[in-house]
Symmetry: C2
Subunit: 316 residues, 2 copies
């Protein structure tokens, strides 16, 4: 892979290669929450933001160490780092750099969106991977409410830097219906967004058949997931809501193409905090939280292999 000569389709192809190589579409969400961290990483009593950020850094690095042999891609959630101020942002930068150095692809879940040159500033700050920026992720999530001229700067930076963009189309939360399901011109708003996103992706396919722009579609709406797979045949889908939010392997089956490609399925809490839930809490000692992460990741990989087209992933 030539990282210095950006190609329009670079990110989409890199994601396809990585998913095929690992033989799984599982994406691990890095959402460090202080109250959920393993005991071993939490100091007693009140911890300062700097202490918490240090714990987040160590936690993310250890999770990355565990999942690197198993999955292709991780998704740090910017909010939990930003919550801790500057020290948190330092931990975020470390998390992105550490994951990339390990060979993982990194999708920064930032859901940013602003107009024109302000959107360019966000894209410049958050999107790599061919730049020297501090938060140089392989791809970033963005919000479509401000419209096409607010999204284009992200696409442009992504094309230049061999990066990717995932546009929120249908989110996994119940309240997502409020605007996204309103009917306009005979179809829901999310469908309008999907058609726009497909239009952009269609012009930028790589060898894998997918383009530089993908879409976020929640696992909690299985029917819409299958509908949107059809509406966006050239878009990678990033599917959140698996596990903690109730999405199952069968729910996400419609997200894949016939080769088992085209979607990455994210799980955050269900994997990274597996030490605190059944059956892992019973199987592993508290100090062995990393083994709980590994077991939960393997279980999710197995479930997607049995119950979705991801079981048909070809060889590289």
């Amino acid at each position: 892979m030539n990282k210095t000569e950006p190609r329009a389709s670079g990110f989409a192809d890199r994601l396809a290669s990585a998913v095929i190589e690992r033989q799984t579409p599982v994406m691990v969400g890095l959402d460090p929450r202080w109250d959920h961290l393993p005991e071993a990483l939490r100091s007693d009593g009140d911890a300062s933001p700097v202490q918490r950020a240090a714990a987040y850094r160590r936690f993310c690095r250890e999770v990355i160490d565990v999942v690197t042999p198993l999955v292709a891609v991780v998704k740090p959630q910017a909010a939990f780092f930003e919550q801790l101020g500057v020290a948190g942002m330092e931990a975020l930068a470390d998390c992105i750099a550490y994951a990339r150095a390990a060979g993982l692809l990194v999708v920064l879940d930032a859901k940013r969106g602003d107009i024109g040159s302000t959107a360019t500033a966000y894209a410049d700050g958050l999107l790599g991977p061919t730049c020297e920026g501090m938060f140089a992720a392989d791809a970033v999530t963005v919000n479509p409410y401000l419209g096409d001229d607010a999204l284009e700067p992200f696409f442009e930076v992504a094309r230049k830097r061999d990066g990717g963009v995932f546009v929120l189309v249908k989110t996994s939360n119940p309240g997502g219906r409020m605007l996204q399901d309103l009917q306009a011109g005979g179809r829901p708003i999310y469908r309008h967004v999907a058609e726009y996103v497909e239009g952009v992706a269609h012009g930028s396919q790589g060898r894998c058949g997918y383009g530089v722009v993908g879409a976020v579609v929640g696992a909690t709406y299985p029917e819409q997931l299958a509908e949107l797979r059809e509406v966006m045949p050239h878009c990678w889908l990033l599917v959140p809501g698996f596990g903690s939010q109730g999405g199952t392997a069968r729910d996400v089956a419609g997200a894949f193409d016939q080769q088992g490609l085209g979607a990455v399925i994210n799980s955050s809490r269900h994997i990274i905090f597996a030490h605190a839930r059944s059956p892992y809490a019973e199987r592993f000692a508290a100090a062995d939280w990393q083994r709980a992460v590994e077991a939960a990741t393997r279980d999710m990989i197995d479930r997607l292999r049995s119950d979705t087209p991801a079981g048909q992933l070809g060889s590289v």
Copy 2:
């Protein structure tokens, strides 16, 4: 003002008092862009992110020094700070703290949005003013695409901390029409958002008649501005797009109530980079860029006084 005992209406009332005290609804946008900074603040050749962040910090502090006697509220744009990585976020924290210490209200333009507990993390990280957080702004802008359950955590933190929230309703950019103007159930999407926002604000009015939740409505759509003023009688409006984006004093006249309250009108580039445009570039030497900022602020204040109901602002 009692900052330790939060009131539901605290921010709305504080904003009203501050606007009446300064006798102007002008809001100064702090959008530091490297290429536009006054020569005096830019080092020669390539500057590192750390050097740029130091220049942003100095620039914002000097702008704040100039505008503090003239206006009530400033709006730092998170994107330009985030673009510089951790050093930029340090400059943002400094800018917020410096403006608040000067007695200004601070609306952080972050346009954040995420689901449930992730939204809580953003709100906790960005919203003050009664907390010790690093980016403890008086209010924050948020994006409604993810729906009510993604906005409520921001409202909840705002209520607890005496802060405010401005929800994007109708943005100033041309592309904002793509989703916001789609017709659903006989009215545009932005109107649906406006009705929701008004419903939340209605339950939380303070003495001034406005609630804890406001709305962002662009100056570039004067008709919709007047329409939305009527739809949201209990919402402060944050009106961007004045000046550089083409909005004039007459365009924003419809944003105010009969007392000249209810709206703050933002200008960023037109004020903070006045040194580079006519007539200020001719009137002031390059090294006197602060005087250009002052003159441009005074001119905007005068224009809003002559051509909008803001000229009728009563006394405190």
